[in-house]
């Protein structure tokens, strides 16, 4: 197969600051195929694409285009070789006209001046081939994202003509626009172009792609034809679980399914983010939330915590209807949340560990009732000890702590408010193994103490270990609820592979 490969890469390696992000990755793309590149966050997809399109230099490995060894040193060089890229945020200029965008940097000239008439005519002809009737003289900002995307593709194909990379092209398109885009891609495939598409939407992968390559932790897991790859196996490839072997220790306590739910969400949803769902959370249980990236996990958490406003359904706390339109509303009801993006949404970098711990409590008390220094010291000391935060220095700015210790400080921040419901979004991502185990132990202990927890995680074994129930999300729908003995890694993965609209 390798002999008829259009673009082939072998043994690609790349390190940043001594950390290997790509380790011996092979990739092979044929002409006339649409090839999906998949992997969870941090798998190395974008690094691989940047190397293949000339944005980064590889540390090791060989790259061949139509059998000839190539070494693009910049995006422009890659374009000259025939490799074009369209990024997630369309890389065009909104304030220029359509024609200018298509021919930017290579405008047709006559007697040294830009030949605008020819440029307009060429642009119109070119776009017509893609079924886009855009006025070449209109500024780009005038057109919706979907049209801009196709204009970007037209420009990239016109420039390069052999290989096209598309990074999350459908992220901001609606269903109809996605179909229009796919029509264009099929047309290009028929012309013999090799197309690589990066996306998180498995539905779309099965709709458009011929083959798929899966990366995980910087290594290649495999490259398979989609026609003989069941969805379930693809998910397993992405998560990298040897499912049969998982026999995690599991002791999530008794399921008190008949006691009334303290927190109850009915028909709760937000268009474009997460389809309406029902969710009951009882005191003393951990509700695990599983799903691939983009399945609506974080969107669910944001809705529960009042960061986003729902456009359907109602929320009840202890049976009484409540409005959760801001984090303050949620906090007033005894909610707390550790966000997924610790650096940008969690820590207040320049403030000390002590100040970070007392911030949520202080915010709920209001500015006019300061927490006295002695109380603050006691609070900081207690949680530094209880959660083993290191170094145990309450005056150190939190930005100098390791990821695991920052996460503990953020947990301490909420525990200090004595919450009734704690929502944890990927509490163990990007932290070292020691802290990882401590946080899991803490989750179990909080549950035993009678707190209600919602934990989002992409670590399936972890969910199996501590969840009383697991809700599985797929394509922005809550597709399945697993309880008690039903909770196994295999069952979760099985449910994750169900298309969302089939539920």
């Amino acid at each position: 197969m390798t002999e008829n490969a259009l673009l082939q890469a072998q043994g690609i390696e790349k390190s940043f600051f001594g950390v290997k992000v790509l380790d011996g990755v092979d990739f092979s793309l044929r002409g006339g195929e649409i090839h999906a590149l998949l992997g969870e966050n941090g798998a190395g997809k974008s690094t691989l694409v940047k190397i293949l399109t000339g944005a980064y230099r590889r540390d090791a490995g060989v790259m061949r285009l139509a059998g000839r060894e190539v070494e693009p040193r910049s995006v422009a060089e890659a374009q000259d070789l025939g490799i074009g890229t369209v990024y997630q945020e369309v890389n065009l200029l909104d304030n220029l006209t359509v024609a200018e965008n298509v021919y930017l940097g290579r405008q047709p000239r006559r007697a040294g001046l830009v030949d605008r008439r020819r440029m307009r005519a060429d642009a119109r002809d070119l776009l017509a081939r893609y079924g886009v009737k855009a006025d070449p003289d209109e500024t780009l900002a005038h057109y919706p994202v979907a049209v801009r995307q196709i204009i970007a593709i037209a420009r990239a194909v016109d420039l390069s003509g052999k290989v096209l990379f598309l990074d999350e092209p459908t992220a901001s398109l609606d269903a109809r626009e996605v179909q229009a885009l796919f029509d264009v891609l099929r047309q290009l495939r028929a012309q013999g172009l090799g197309i690589v598409i990066i996306t998180h939407f498995l539905d779309q992968v099965y709709q458009i792609a011929d083959r798929v390559t899966v990366l995980r932790n910087g290594r290649m897991v495999g490259s398979r034809a989609l026609s003989d790859l069941p969805r379930r196996d693809l998910v397993a490839m992405m998560l990298g679980r040897e499912l049969a072997e998982v026999t995690a220790h599991r002791d999530p306590g008794a399921v008190l399914s008949d006691s009334p739910a303290a927190f109850s969400f009915k028909d709760y949803g937000k268009r474009g983010a997460i389809a309406p769902f029902d969710l009951d959370i009882r005191a003393g249980e951990v509700v695990g939330i599983a799903g691939l990236l983009g399945s609506g996990r974080t969107e669910t958490a944001r809705l529960l915590f009042g960061i986003d406003r729902p456009d359907s359904g109602e929320a009840r706390v202890d049976g009484a209807t409540v409005t959760l339109h801001s984090p303050q509303d949620a906090i007033a009801r005894g909610f707390g949340m550790c966000p997924e993006e610790r650096k940008s949404d969690g820590i207040i970098g320049d403030l000390s560990v002590r100040q970070n711990i007392l911030l949520a409590l202080q915010a709920s008390r209001g500015w006019s009732r300061p927490i006295a220094r002695r109380e603050a010291d006691a609070l900081a000391e207690r949680y530094i000890k209880a959660l083993d935060i290191r170094p145990p220095d309450p005056n150190r700015p939190i930005k100098f702590l390791s990821g695991g210790n920052q996460q503990k400080v953020i947990l301490a921040r909420w525990l200090a408010t004595d919450p009734r419901l704690l929502i944890l979004d990927e509490p163990t991502r990007g932290i070292d193994i020691g802290a990882h185990a401590e946080i899991i132990t803490l989750i179990e202990k909080l549950r035993e103490d009678g707190m209600a927890l919602v934990v989002i995680s992409s670590e399936i074994e972890e969910l199996v270990t501590f969840s009383t129930r697991v809700i599985v999300l797929s394509d922005r729908h809550h597709v399945r609820e697993l309880r008690g003995a039903e909770i196994t890694a295999e069952a979760i993965v099985e449910a994750m592979a169900v298309p969302g609209d089939a539920a």
Binding site: G346, Q362, R365
Partner: protein, 332 residues
């Protein structure tokens, strides 16, 4: 409030500047008592710094939230104009104070609403009032320089209590009141949190919009106070020139004080020292007998020097140097 050790760089800079001026004009440090009132160049620095010091108090809080308030000079002109008008019409001083301060508060709230609730960038939001404010002030004075003769009101600018000139007392009091307000309550901490990471602060329930609004309101109040001192001092209101460019001196004072324009940690005391450094330079150059053209250039050179010493890049170099010296000292 702020630990003394954290003020070392600013105190050191102030000391060096005062020392240099003392070398050039030996009479600088002499303070005498005439008619029961303190006199001398040093006292003059304390009096002249009042407007910038007052502006710097409010500006510190605004900058701590990652904002900036360019309108303070214009707010001085507006409140000065209204105060002069009321005084000239014979209204008693308490009424004048109340009206002018309320007007300053309204100006601050206007800025705060634009920034906090409409999410307009602070530099643009406050530029609006910076430009329009002088027009408003001119409308109030009717386009002329309005003068008055009212000893009670003039006391704010040229009076003295127990020998200490009133402007000194006013800026010290304002610094103390606002300093206590933010540090004895949780305002200071919450303002710093919003300035460092607004998203994360809002996610823990900090009412960022309210806090930002409050800082602009305080800045408006400080500007109103500054406007009245200037008006009382010159016995009149000049809508075109009152507080002109003072917003820039106030920003400079805050930056010399070590509060980053990127928001976050702040110290009102350090900003006040920053204002004193700027005013010492102004007064020093004036009494040195050098041609006034030098004033701005010398000021710029000294400020560049201070900021260079404070820059993180230089601090890092100095740290490396210190480590080297220490290692050398340890070896033999």
């Amino acid at each position: 409030m702020t630990r003394l050790r954290q003020l070392y760089p600013q105190l050191l800079a102030l000391g060096v500047v005062l020392l240099l001026i003392g070398l050039i004009s030996p009479g600088f440090f002499s303070v005498t008592v005439q008619n029961g009132r303190l006199y001398g160049s040093l006292i003059d620095v304390g009096v002249r710094v009042a407007p910038v010091a007052l502006l710097a108090v409010g500006m510190t809080l605004v900058i701590a939230t990652k904002g900036i308030d360019l309108s303070v000079g214009a707010v001085m002109a507006i409140t000065g104009a209204i105060a002069a008008t009321l005084v000239a019409d014979g209204h008693p001083v308490p009424v004048v104070l109340l009206v002018a301060l309320s007007l300053g508060l309204v100006c601050g709230l206007w800025n705060g609403v634009l920034v906090a609730f409409l999410d307009i960038q602070p530099i643009i939001a406050t530029l609006i009032l910076m430009v329009a404010g002088r027009g408003i002030a001119q409308l109030i004075t009717g386009g002329v320089i309005l003068t008055f003769n009212d000893p009670a009101f003039s006391f704010l600018g040229s009076g003295a209590v127990m020998g200490v000139p009133t402007p000194i007392l006013i800026w010290l009091a304002m610094g103390l009141v606002v300093g206590l307000l933010v540090r004895r309550t949780a305002l200071g901490l919450l303002i710093e949190a919003v300035g460092i990471n607004r998203r994360a602060s809002m996610l823990v329930g900090v009412r960022a919009r309210f806090l930002i609004l409050a800082t602009y309101a305080i800045s408006g109040l400080c500007a109103a106070m500054a406007g009245m001192i200037v008006t009382a001092d010159i016995h009149g209101a000049d809508a075109n020139n009152a507080g002109l460019w003072l917003e820039l001196d106030a920003i400079l004072a805050v930056v010399i004080g070590g509060t980053s324009l990127a928001g976050g940690r702040f110290s009102i005391t350090a900003s006040l020292i920053g204002a004193l450094i700027i005013q010492s330079l102004n007064t020093g150059i004036l009494i040195s007998g050098w041609p006034p053209e030098f004033n701005l250039i010398v000021k710029a050179v000294v400020i560049v020097a201070i900021l260079t010493l404070q820059s993180p890049a230089v601090a890092e170099e100095l740290g490396v140097l210190r480590d080297l010296l220490r290692r050398k000292g340890a070896k033999p």
